[in-house]
Each structure stands twice: as C-alpha cells, then as structure tokens.
C-alpha cells in the first residue's frame, strides 16, 4: 500500500489511539491525558494538512476493507470530505484545549476525553466515508460515542436528555439503515464517486427511489436537527459546554448536514433529485427549520438553549444551499458548514466561560458581563455578528452566496426568507450583546472564580474562543484569497458539481 492509503488510516488512528489509551489512564493522571490529547490533535492537524495539499495537487487517497461479499468499507478523501475533515480536526484542537481547562476539577475526566477522542475519530470517519454503507457505519457509531458525553454529568436531567437523544438518533439510524439496505439491494455498492449511479432506475423504480430518499433524509435529518426532528438538540444542552460545542459545531449536527449533502449531491445527484421532484419539499423543510429555529430562539432565556435553537436554524442554511441547487448556492451552503462551525463553537465556548466563571446561565442575568469578561464577550460579539450576517464576517459570505444562488435560480422568495431570518438572528443576539456591554451589573454574580493573572479567567478558557473568533473574522475578510474555505468550496463545486 502506498503512503496515500495509510494516510487516511493514520488520520483516524491519530485520535483513536490516544482515546483508547486515555480510557486506561487513572483519573489523576492529568499530565499524560492532556499531553496525549494535544499530541493527537496536533498530529491529526498535520496529517490533514498533508492530505489537503495532496488533494489539491491531484493525489488520490483511498483505502478499502472488504466487509461482506460485494460490500466494502471504503475510506476516500475527496475535496468535500477534506472540507469536513479540516473543520473537525481544527475545532477538535481548540475544543480539547478548552475542555482541559473547563473540566479541571470534575470527575470522570478519563472517560470524558476517551469518548471525546473517539467521537472525533468517528466524525472523521463520516467525512472520509467513500460509500453509503461506510457512511452509515460511522454515522451510527457517532450516536454511541456521543451518548456517554451527553449523560456525562449524570444528573437526572442529563440522563433524561440522553434518553431523548438516543430515541431520536437511534430511530433515525434505523430509518437510515433501512434506506441504505434498500438502495444496496437495488443497485449494489453505492459509491460516492460514481455520479449518476441511480439515473437508470428513474424509469422503473420511481416510488422506490422516492421512498429511499425519504428514509435516508429523515435518517440523517435527525442529526441535522431538521424540523420536526430537532427535539433532541435543545435538551442535549445539559451536557458540559465542550460537548455542546462538539455536538453543534464539529460532530453531530454537522454530520447530519454533511450526510444530506452526500445524499443529495453524490448519491442521488441534483438532476435525479429534482427529476424526482424532491428538491422542493426538502427546500421547504429547510426554510421552515430556519424560521422556526430562529423564532424559538427568540423565546429562550437560557443562553445555551438559545444557541441550540440558533443551531437548528443555522444548519438548515446548508441544506437550503444544496436544495437551491445552483453552484453559487451550493457554495454558500457548503461554506456555511465551515463558517457556522467556527462561529457556533465560539459562541458555545463563550457561553461555557460565562457559566463556568460567573455561574450565569440565564440571559436575563447577563447584565454587565462585558465588564467582567471583556475578552470572552468580545469573542461572543464577533461571532454573534457573524451569525447575524454582518459584513465582512463569515456569516455574511455564506448568506451572500445563498442569496445570489437563489436569485440566479429564480427563487426570489428565498431572499425574503434570508432577510427574515437575519432579522430574527439580530433580534435574539443583539439584546444579549446590549445587556452584556451596556447594562449595569445587577447584584453579585452567583459565583466568581476570579481572574488568573493577566487573564480574566483560566487562560485556556479564553484563548480558544478568541482564536476561533479571529478565524471567523479572517475567513470573512480573506474570503477571496486562495487559502480560504470559500476558495476550497469553489474548487469542490467547479470540479464536481458544476457540469450539470
């Protein structure tokens, strides 16, 4: 096997092996645990960089393992998977840093970091999956590895949230499973690299194709938190902040959105999907989700719940971009995968900081937080502005391309949706920012861990959000440079999805 093949396995192993070792470490063995985590994250970053450079130079990375006669487990790195891999591994690095400080004194850290690493491994697996069965394989594993993280606190509320999470995701998994198997029975191996595989079935198997599509989309839609399958996401907020960050920005929700991309773009292909008349319903679901999520976010007083509903809304931009179905819109959707991840993780880091340092969870108690935690709130503000879509931040870029695509496609009404959603975003984010910076503090904080030297709190809690906020600024400012996510997305779209 050439090194290209090993590379993908190494990328998986670089987080899996540390994870497995961490399970065996004693609780008190903080040094080794942190070192292993960070080493794994850095090594993974380097490997991913190598891979991305390789892909841009036209190298092929693939490895296959026979699973069953006629069915292989395939890992393959195409530009789209590289996009997701890059996002996951970068954010994993930050989240690890953050989590080390965040969980400083809480119990069961070995378990936490073990599952954390496995979770990232599985997410990378989803990204690198080369066919539908491999995708399913890792997609189901994601449920298993995130469940212990969701119930990490072990409170009754956390256990209940875990149950709801399982109920939703496992049911989704079963639907997805049924769809995948059905499709495999119809056509055999469903490889992502074979475009137009299902086209010949359009005549004879129309109902079957529609049925399979519904099964597949509802299966991954649960994780992508499409309305009405989103119920688990706000509840899962009871998990520790790094877990929320992971669920929303890196792994679960993103895996769902990524899955929808794969299914619509690679399995069915846009021509077939629109030929079956399925793009429009999906687009409607996405718009509903965008508006509904924002509306619900308006009503929340708990900061993390607000962020959760915001995620519900924002992730559907990705779906919307795909379903508009024109290259510009696809670019907007795809790049939002990255942009939303970076911004949302910043917001969760900040929310975690506020909760951890000051014990503040409710928005109504946030008056004056900006004075006490200026850096944190600065990052928060930047990310929130990005979410709203203020130029030149990341969110603006996504929305711009979505809008352009919608106009090009002749779906002008979508602009109304976009504007409406932007207004809603502003309506729930701006009050927070206003309270934090411009209102006076009311009474003492529920607790205050105190400043640490130069920093307003533990430096490892502040640096990650600052970095991600900076990145969200940079990707917006430098969107037109050759190194930006947008450039990569343009590369993907022009090489794969333009021709049709």
């Amino acid at each position: 096997m050439a090194w290209q093949n090993w590379l993908l396995l190494l990328i998986l192993l670089s987080s899996m092996v540390p994870g497995l070792i961490i399970f065996t470490l004693a609780e008190s063995n903080r040094g080794w645990r942190t070192a292993l985590n960070l080493c794994g994250a850095v090594v993974k970053m380097i490997l991913v960089l190598v891979m991305i450079i390789g892909i841009s130079q036209g190298q092929r990375f693939a490895v296959a393992l026979p699973l069953l006669p006629g069915v292989d487990l395939v890992l393959r790195a195409d530009p789209l998977s590289a996009l997701f891999v890059a996002l996951s591994s970068l954010l994993w690095l930050f989240t690890t840093l953050y989590a080390v400080a965040y969980l400083e004194d809480s119990p069961n850290r070995s378990h936490f970091f073990g599952y954390f690493s496995l979770c990232v491994t599985v997410t990378i697996g989803i990204a690198l999956a080369g066919n539908l069965l491999t995708f399913l394989f890792f997609f189901e594993m994601l449920t298993l590895t995130t469940y212990p993280l969701v119930i990490h606190r072990g409170t009754a509320e956390a256990m209940a949230a875990g149950r709801v999470y399982l109920l939703y995701t496992l049911t989704g998994g079963l639907l997805l499973f049924l769809g995948v198997v059905w499709l495999y029975v119809l056509v055999g191996e469903v490889d992502f690299s074979r475009q137009g595989l299902l086209m010949p079935l359009l005549d004879g198997h129309r109902p079957a194709l529609i049925g399979i599509f519904c099964l597949l989309i509802s299966g991954v839609g649960v994780k992508a938190a499409l309305v009405p399958l989103h119920g688990w996401l706000p509840r899962a907020m009871v998990a520790p902040a790094p877990v929320s960050a992971l669920l929303h920005a890196v792994a679960v929700v993103k895996a769902g959105a990524f899955g929808i991309m794969r299914i619509v773009l690679d399995v069915y292909g846009l021509p077939l999907t629109s030929g079956l008349g399925l793009l429009m319903p999906l687009m409607l679901v996405a718009t509903c989700t965008i508006l509904y999520g924002s509306l619900l976010a308006l009503r929340q007083d708990n900061l993390k719940r607000l962020l959760a509903y915001s995620t519900v809304s924002q992730v559907s931009y990705i779906v919307l971009g795909i379903t508009i179905g024109n290259p510009l819109a696809i670019m907007g959707g795809m790049v939002h995968l990255i942009h939303q991840g970076i911004m949302k993780i910043t917001l969760f880091f900040c929310a975690g900081n506020i909760a951890e340092t000051l014990g503040v969870h409710a928005i109504s108690r946030m008056n004056g937080v900006g004075r006490r935690l200026p850096l944190t709130m600065g990052a928060f503000t930047l990310a929130a502005m990005g979410m709203i879509g203020l130029p030149p931040l990341a969110g603006f870029v996504s929305k711009w391309y979505l809008g352009l695509g919608a106009i090009n496609q002749g779906e002008g009404w979508l602009l109304v949706v976009l504007v409406l959603s932007t207004l809603l975003n502003a309506a729930y984010f701006l009050p927070i920012i206003y309270r934090a910076w411009f209102r006076e503090q009311e009474g003492p904080w529920p607790k205050d861990s105190g400043a640490m030297g130069l920093w307003e709190c533990h430096w490892m809690l502040v640096v990650p959000p600052l970095l991600t906020a900076a990145i969200s600024l940079l990707v917006g400012l430098l969107a037109n440079s050759t190194l930006s996510p947008l450039a990569w997305v343009r590369f993907i779209v022009t090489t794969r999805y333009e021709p049709w």
Binding site: P66, L68, H111, M141, I151, H152, R153, M159, V185
Partner: protein, 487 residues
Amino acid sequence: MNLSPDSSAWIIWPVVVPLLGAVVCFLYKKKPRLAGHFFAVVTCGTSTVLGWQVLSQGVGRHLLGGWSPPLGISLRADGPAALMVMMTAVTGLGITLYSGGYFQSRLAGDSQDHRFRAQEQSFWPLWLLLWAALNGLFLSGDIFNIYISLELVALSSVGLTVLSGKPPSLVAAMRYLLVSLLGSLTFLLGVGFFYKAHGTLELAVISKALAPTPPVIMALALVSVGLMLKTALFPFHFWLPPAHANALAPVSAILSALVIKGSWYLFYRFWQGGGLLAAVGIVPALLGSVAIIWGAFQAFSQQRLKMLVAYSTVAQIGYLFVAFPLLVDSAGQGRDALFYFAISHSCAKAAMFLAAGTFFLQLGHDRIRDLAGVRQLLPVSSFAFALGGVSLMGLPPSGGFIAKYLLVSKAISQDLWWLALIAVVGSGLTAVYVFRAVSSVLSPHLLEERPLLVVAASMQWSALALALLAIVLGIMAPLPLALLEVT
C-alpha cells in the same frame, strides 16, 4: 469395513478431548481448575484445527468404527458445523478463563469454602462434558446419535444450572429438565418416524429427501417442536429466563450463549434441505417475530439485570428463527444471516452475562436501578457489557450489524418487507432495553456500596475479550462467511 489409513481424525478430536477432560476433572478433584483450563485450551486448539482443515480442504467426514452410514455413524465437518465448533471453542475459552477467576475470587472472598469448592469440583467436569456434547451435536451425521448428544447437553446443562443451589435456581432447573426431556422425547419420536420413512438414521439423507409424505411431515413436525422446546422459541420460552438468570455467572453465559445454539443448529440442519421451507418456513419466522417483540418487552420490564439479559436471549432466539423463509433459494445469504446472528449473539451474550455476573459478585445484587456507578468499580466489565449491548442492538461495528444487514437486505431482495421491518423494529426495541441497562451501568454516579470482594482480573478481561470479539466480527465477516461457504 474400511481399514485403509484414515486422515480425518481431526474431526473427532474436538469431541474426544473434552470428554477425556471431563473424566480427568472428575477423577482429579484436587486441582480441577488446572485440569479444566488445560483441556479447554486443548479443545480450543483442536477446534481451531478443525476449522482450519474445513476452510482449507473442504468438507471432512469421519466414519466412526470404520463403518459407513447407514450402518455406522459418521461425523461430518462442513462449513456451518465448523463455524459452530469454532464459536463454541472461542466463547468456551472465554468462559473458561472467566470461570477460573470466578471460583478463585469466591473461594478467596468467602468463608463458605466447602460449598464453593464443591461447586467448582462439579462445575469443571460438567462444563467439559457439555462442551464435548455440543461439539458432538454439531458434527454428528446421525439422528439417533444426535438424540443422545441432546440428552447429554440437556443433563449437563441442568447439572450446571443447579450448581448455585438456591431454591429459585432449583425450581428453574426442574422446569428446564422437564422441558428438555419433553423436547428430547418428541425429537426421539420424530427420529422414529424418520426411520420408518427412510430406513436410515443418516441426517444427510433425511434432510435432503424431505418429500412431503405424511410420515415425513409428521417426523419433521415432531423433531421441530422438540428442538423449538429446547431452543426456547416463543411460545416455548417460559422456562428459559429463570433458568438462565438464576444460575452461576459462567453457567448463565454457557446456557445463553452456547446451549440454545445446539438445538437451533439442528433445527437448521433438518430444514436446510429447503423442500418444505417454501410452504411452512413462515411458521418459525412468525414465531420468531413474536419472540423478538415479546422478549424485548419482557426484557424492558425486568428489574434485575440478569433477568433482562435472559429475556434478551428470548428475543434474540427470535432472530435465529426469523430468517428461515430466506433459506429457500440457494444463494446462501439467508444462511449467512442466520449463522452470523448465532455467532455474534454467542460472543455478545456471553460477554453480557459474564459482566452481569461480575457485577452480581461484586455488589451482591443485580438490581438495575442500583447499579449506577458500577463503572467506577468495574470499568472493564462495564465496558464489556456495553459493547455486548452494541452488538445485540445491531449497531456498527459489530457482528450484530453484519447479521442485521444480511438479514434485511436478503428480506428486501425477496420482497419480504414485513420481515425486514420486524428485524429493524426489533433492533430498535433491543436498543431500548439494552440502553435501559447500559445507561445505568455507565452512568457516572458515585457508588455508595462497598464491594464484597476482590474480583479476579481474568473475570473482567475475559468478558471484555468476548465483547471485543463481537465487535471485531463486524469487520472481519469475510472469514466466517468463507467458512460457511464450505458445504
């Protein structure tokens, strides 16, 4: 009589070695554990040789006494048989290692020295004898010989069940014994009708020539009912949960992982010919479907972990039967699904019962509600339990996933939608009850109770090894499937 040199001795060794081991353990009471381990390892080795021979050289036949059937008895080692022998060997080795630690821990931790020692002295010969009988069952090519092997299996299982000596286990064992005897006798009557119809006891001839004449149908019905009784297929499942749940930890694992597979395998053997499958294959499938649903509901409503796992066996037995209509065509995927369910259930269930037994030994109870926090005490066992659960649920990567995939895809390709749905719904229900237990086991509570004794490391790690094997089966399917192809 054929006296030319015979090169098929490898077929009989997996039967002879544990038989010999049973006698040695029976005679050598001073260190039965040592002898037990030794013979278990050797049996495992000979079983591996058998598997390897079948894989590399194809079907083997051993004519006992040099007499060829129908006069004599032949052993036949083909792919399915070899796979079952291998399954027994691997699971059996894990259980053996666990048992060593189990008895050691109990002897070290309690003053009930004499009672535990007696238990252990009885355990090893019975277990090895059971192992031999199972191997004999898998390999036997003669239906009367199968009857005797079935009786050996039944009696030694009962002997193992009563070892714990507690009244509930005694009553359960009695019920088990009576059901087993009823099953054996029904089977024997069927054997009689087969002999009347075909004039031979050779299984290969009988299962090939399943012409639907009245005696054959009656014989097949009797044999099937007898075997269903022994396998505890719904509605014959009533005896299983108390018997499996109240036994000693390694015994529960043996019964649930291995013993029911013996009679199930025979059921497959009798039906594999396919002639009657198209007509009545639906019957075991329907019973299996009900078993899946019913067992899952029962498992969910249990308060004790071992009862939950035992009812899960009832449900999983349903899976072993639900795929019978898929055996009709010769493509073999239905068979693959069946056997994959069997082997992955064997590893997973053994791991779960062993882990549950460790919890029980450590805490003195297995109430699911009060298990929260056991993870801190027994991290490895808890992990093993959870991994076993993953395989039962059919989530990737696990043997259960492969089996579910094979089953559902075969069902869809034959347009048996209800079957595919049952399998999917069943695995959802499995997830519900498995997570009920797993969330308790893995919950990060702090445990208040003090551990009763120190459990041996081998108890924890053998369970984990079996659970990991159930997981590994999910990515090395080509090997067992290649073995199954040898027929």
